[in-house]
Symmetry: C2
Subunit: 421 residues, 2 copies
């Protein structure tokens, strides 16, 4: 049963290649950037655009390695000085259970497929809207699954970026809202491999960002309330609302669900909860506050306190109170993954006793409105000439992670400095 | 020293009566509603506008009563079935300390002065911009200090509202962001007194909202990202930034500080943290993300876990890391009170060792841009014809408070139903 449901869900997104991006641009006419006039100066490209995300195992046999990397990441799951020993142990213990979950959603995570599609399609749009930085070359760097950061970096060098030849690359986080556990961890990893492959690791002195023909990096580190992102979420919510009868639709409560954080991270001053709330508010503004809603938090594990209210408890409580028309909106990931396809669909909805009236909004995946938004964000960044947001240069008030300091210093350095949103 | 500082601070806001609201309207031209044409139908007024807030003791001898009411409020501080005994005990124990704090800020809370001024000035604007509901009569109802809800309600009845004669009143929360602990508690109290004074308490049957000549209540229950509110905050932040030298200004970090909540309330699904974050994001958008910032939380008490990062820890940590140009922005209260004048000014800033470089942004108080915003919010509500926001009708996922259910049912009932933001 679980397998069948998952197959049905995957098949809903089955033909990304057939998406019409012309239609996407038509749909977002108000948001799209105008077609550029031909460049009067030669292009400064090529420009590498690197999509950063956590990634997921594309096949069931990759689950073990994926979990090992995940539990080895002290930026995500700080286990103290025993991380090296505890991490693999926990990963090993959890592997069989998580393998079953990936098997249930069709045999692996679709995140690589979607990321590669999104990056490639976005670059095609950028080649048209930003000819002065064309050609734009798409890369994907995952934190815990192939293609890993080091693989991506080696590919960049093989493709003629850096390594003495210079060139520009944009690290584009695919987490709309910034957390030190997610985007921060990816950037720390990127900085580590950059030091190994283009810094001291090559036997020379540490080079500054873009110095002596190394790659000139800049970062798109957050975009929680970008109009195109908000539009894509809002359209998908409207599409789900339209599946209810008129009477039921009036009764719907919208539950925005984001991956939770341990309270130690929240209390350290991680900006994520506030940025997720900003996305939610912007989407509800766009929907003219047509329905009551709550922001709730999913996927907490272990005995430590995490930020709530929990998604699963919320659904249980509302159902118990007779509130059965619930629309779940994954608001902090843009592609489907185990937390949508298994946790929300199979567990939260599947076990609610109200599978017909509790419905999940489609993830953004290959949504053309979303891909146009990515292109608009990238274009604005390329035009802005800044290294990263001012926000990114600020460490959390309770941060004691020396890697964060070094990584932030590196990415905020360069001709543009830290500016913009 | 504390007294001197407090006097200086109070004197900054000393002449509210001299504020030019014409100037206010000039300043917010883009936001202000256009002057109305003469009404073609007779006015539906008078309309009572009731400002709801927690209040504060206007003089030091009122501190004891204030704290007694505060610790008796299970909506704010749930102490279980021993509330009746524990509340007064805790209040009594804290009174001497809090008396000293009120003495240090000039002998009492200025919140009544500001609330009465804001309500009166707003009604003057409304009489011009919304003649069809004029005259507008200002009232103030505090939860823990004079004028209490019951005093306000008795005054309404004495002034000819309700009691068989009908009439319309708007409960206008002065907390921009909704929490069950604040606006929720005020509404539960208003509902209680309404039942006592116009419902069963008068010996008759319970009347529905506005039935049989009782007052027709509607509620403005939240306005976290209203443009005028955001503009007023942003202008005040810009004014504080302008007091730094150019070099220091570039280095400023903005810390938005809001009253924290116990994690039990957060995990119940209280909407406040997300709505405060929405305000912060809207203000930073208006400031074009000119500086790095964090949303931090103040005023936690007792041994239970509260939402962080804490304001005081944040300042301590940033100062220790050499980050001394900090601008503190009270973002969840609109008038000065003990949490700004004492906790932020005397404790957080006063004890930071960086009194010259850590500066607090002025509270909104008698700010004409803010008062114009209040008038715009009220006008939109009066025109909208709705009872309250859709959001207000939704109880928290973890709510077990029967009062909330009854009070929400009451306020959401009526000709308009629950609509708008």
């Amino acid at each position: 049963m679980a397998l069948r449901t998952a197959t049905r869900q995957l098949s809903r997104h089955a033909s990304p290649a057939t998406l019409s991006l012309t239609a996407a641009r038509r749909q977002t006419r108000g948001l799209a950037t105008p077609a550029s006039t031909p460049p009067t100066t030669p292009s400064k490209g090529p420009t590498a655009i690197v999509f950063m995300n956590m990634g997921g195992p594309s096949t069931v046999p990759e689950v073990g390695d994926f979990l090992s990397r995940l539990f080895a990441d002290a930026d995500l799951i700080p286990l103290g000085r025993f991380q090296k020993y505890l991490g693999p142990l926990i990963a090993q213990r959890r592997t069989p259970k998580i393998e079953k979950q990936y098997a249930a959603i069709g045999g692996g995570s679709p995140i690589r497929k979607w990321s590669e599609l999104q990056a490639a399609e976005m670059c095609k749009i950028l080649d048209q809207t930003s000819p002065e930085t064309a050609p734009h070359k798409p890369y994907v760097a995952f934190r815990y699954a192939a293609p890993l950061t080091e693989t991506m970096y080696a590919q960049l060098l093989a493709d003629g970026f850096g390594g003495g030849k210079g060139g520009r690359a944009v690290a584009f986080t695919q987490y709309p809202q910034y957390s030190c556990s997610t985007t921060g961890s990816s950037l720390n990893d990127l900085w580590k491999w950059r030091e190994k492959l283009e810094g001291t690791g090559r036997g020379g002195e540490v080079k500054a960002n873009g110095e002596d023909g190394s790659i000139q990096w800049s970062v798109i580190d957050r975009w929680p309330a970008h109009k195109g992102l908000v539009e894509a979420f809002a359209q998908n919510i409207e599409a789900t609302l339209a599946t209810y009868s008129e009477a039921d639709r009036k009764d719907v409560t919208i539950l925005f669900s984001a991956h939770s954080l341990p309270m130690t991270v929240v209390n350290r001053g991680d900006p994520y909860p506030a940025e997720v709330a900003a996305t939610v508010y912007a989407v509800m503004e766009r929907l003219k506050f047509s329905h009551p809603y709550r922001l709730v938090w999913q996927s907490q594990v272990g005995p430590q306190p995490w930020l709530g209210a929990q998604t699963s408890d919320t659904v249980t409580n509302y159902v118990a109170n007779g509130k059965k028309n619930l629309v779940l909106v994954p608001i902090a990931f843009t592609s489907d993954h185990i937390e949508t396809l298994y946790e929300l669909d199979e567990e939260v909805i599947g076990e609610s006793g109200c599978k017909d009236s509790i419905r999940r909004v489609e993830s953004l995946n290959g949504n053309p409105v979303f891909i146009q938004a990515l292109a608009d964000i990238a274009k604005a960044h390329l035009e802005g000439g800044v290294q990263c947001s001012k926000q990114m240069a600020l460490r959390c008030p309770g941060c004691t992670n020396a890697k964060c300091e070094a990584s932030k210093d590196f990415f905020a350095s360069g001709p543009g400095g830290a500016v913009e949103a």
